[in-house]
Amino acid sequence: MTERITKDMARNIYFGGGLFAILVFVGLTFDTVKQIPKLSHASKITKSVALGKKVWENNDCVGCHTLMGEGAYYAPELGNAFKRLGGGDEAAFKAYLAGWMAAQPLHVKNRRKMPQFHLTPTQVNNLADFLIWTSRVNNQDWPPNIQG
């Protein structure tokens, strides 16, 4: 089959196909960026949510956990932590998270460990707001169940 394709034909497929693919991808990128504010409820990104995102990044939580399925596979998914650990109740979740962060590392022999990050109560509150916001992003109803 490839005997019938000449080098010039192959080059034209590359330039033509490549250009087409780039144009399609750029177009979709612009449309996606336009839709992100609505899908992610960007208007709900308060100062506290933004600060919580910083705490998340500055402590490299994603080096052990996944957030919406992305990250490391060493520790539980946290995109839906608000629903799993707080049952959808903001006050309950904040109390749980504060207790959890303070209790680390748990002293169970040979169990995987989460470090102690020495976060301030404000930082933990920001983190909770960030995870609450994350759990409400419209992401095609993923994960399939509460365990993430």
Binding site: G17, I36, I45, E70, Y73, R112, K113, Q147
Partner: protein, 460 residues
């Protein structure tokens, strides 16, 4: 060696191999923590080990690509490298920046590191694979720009070939898409979207062009097949790469808060992504069938074939397994993802570095006909140890992934098992994974040893 400036490739190759040893050692350490959570904790928490593991991988591949380019470009351009001195300087700048960053990860708590490097001024840290301080990222840009400049000048002043043009296209793409590592926003979804512009558009678009060009170069040299013929294959491979791989980025956009049309576009486009990898197998075997010369460096050809085959397995087969949205709904972010990531990075990108090293190092060391038969035999052993080690590790992770999906993902909320409980059930499989990891490391040691196997003296 035709041009003395090709010699600058040597330190790049050697350093890439040293980093690979480090990468695997950190991987083995992590695999032990997977089973015994107290191992090295709290001295080295898992996330720190992982940061070092994946950053070493990225940096070693960049060193490998750079070494390969500096070896190949003078021969393709039929002239000396534009500036061997610049290549030597960038080598040392990259080594120092890389070593300092890794030491920073190991000895400074990450939150401290973000303060120390003033991450707040331009917050790019705390993202998977892109954990580097912003200043290191700027250093990488500097190194890559000077490298591309050097290569471009050499090509402009010399002969241009299809291989060098495609290699350069890939390199410009690599540099361009890295710029998205500097994006930041208060909206995590925007960050996630553009994060893939670096990660996916590196490994499934621009790096694939580099891979194709490097593979073609070695095949030209080892088989002596007419360039017209090679060029045609190369264009077909990279055409399919771009057509499938760009819109194929959508296979990461299914469940992270992006528009629903990606479920369709991502599935359909990325379903074609195995094609270029399959074409690479046909390409390699077709060239070997039509070869005009019989090169004595047989092991380099083994690596070239291995790259095409294992690359296709890891990227094509293991990628396709979870690339359709309804499947990925259950497999997303499980050990199956880890299985695919390991075999694809190893098969395609680590193995192409081995191919170039095994082809070029003997020449750089004054053995134009390759290493002696005995050394090649040792190297063949290392080839199989590493390939079987990585395939075994991948199979173990695949079994772990399937079990995780069965217990944690498929049942409804009332019946699904919690993440940590599932992990506890997988410990036997994780032990097997570790053993295959050790096998891979032994393979690398045997590879190192093959460098020191002496020519046998023939008694007359």
């Amino acid at each position: 060696m035709k041009y003395s400036s090709q010699m600058v490739a040597k330190p790049y190759f050697i350093f890439a191999l040293i980093l690979l040893a480090g990468e695997i050692l950190f991987g083995i350490t992590m695999s032990i923590q997977y089973i015994y959570g107290d191992f090295l904790f709290p001295m080295l928490p898992f996330n720190v080990l992982r940061m070092v593991h994946v950053n070493l991988l990225i940096v070693l591949l960049l060193f490998g690509f750079m070494g390969a380019t500096y070896y190949l470009i003078p021969e393709e351009a039929e002239r000396e490298l534009w500036s061997p001195l610049l290549a030597k300087i960038t080598f040392w700048v990259f080594v120092v920046a890389g070593v300092l960053t890794i030491l920073g990860y190991l000895f400074v708590p990450y939150a401290e590191l973000t303060k120390l490097t003033m991450n707040d001024l331009w917050p790019t840290m705390g993202r998977e694979f892109l954990e580097q301080p912003t200043i290191t990222k700027l250093g990488i840009v500097l190194v890559v720009v000077s490298y591309i400049f050097n290569v471009t000048m050499t090509v402009i002043k010399g002969r241009t070939t299809t291989i060098s043009i495609i290699l350069l296209t890939g390199l410009f793409g690599l540099a361009f898409f890295f710029l998205f590592a500097f994006e930041f926003s208060d909206n995590m979804i925007t960050d996630k979207f553009f994060w893939w512009f670096v990660v996916h558009l590196w490994v499934e678009a621009t790096w694939e062009l580099i891979l194709g060009a490097l593979l073609a170069f070695v095949l030209v040299k080892l088989t002596g097949v007419d360039r017209e013929h090679i060029d045609k294959w190369l264009y077909l491979i990279i055409a399919m790469t771009l057509i499938a791989g760009l819109a194929g980025t959508g296979h990461h956009f299914f469940y992270i808060g992006l528009p629903g049309y990606w479920l369709w576009i991502g599935s359909i486009a990325s379903a074609a992504e195995p094609i270029p990898f399959f074409l690479m197998i046909l390409f390699a075997y077709n060239m070997i069938k039509n070869r005009r010369i019989q090169d004595d460096n047989k092991i380099a050809l083994t690596w070239a074939k291995g790259t095409a085959v294992v690359g296709f397995l890891g990227a094509g087969v293991w990628g396709f397994m979870h690339t359709l949205a309804p499947v990925d709904y259950y497999t997303h972010g499980t050990q199956l993802t880890a299985a695919h990531a390991h075999l694809s990075f190893f098969g395609a990108y680590v193995m192409i570095c081995f191919t170039l090293i095994s082809y070029a190092m003997p020449i750089l060391r004054g053995r134009p006909h390759g290493n002696c038969a005995k050394a090649q035999k040792v190297e063949l052993t290392s080839f199989w140890l590493m390939v079987i080690g990585m395939i075994g590790l991948t199979l173990a992770l695949t079994v772990a992934g399937v079990m995780q999906i069965e217990m944690q993902r498929i049942p409804d909320s009332a019946h699904a098992m919690a993440f940590m409980d599932v992990q506890a059930k997988l410990s036997t499989i994780y032990i097997i994974r570790s053993l295959f990891g050790v096998m891979t490391f032994v393979g690398l040691l045997v590879y190192f040893y093959s460098f020191f196997v002496k020519e046998e003296r023939v008694a007359i």
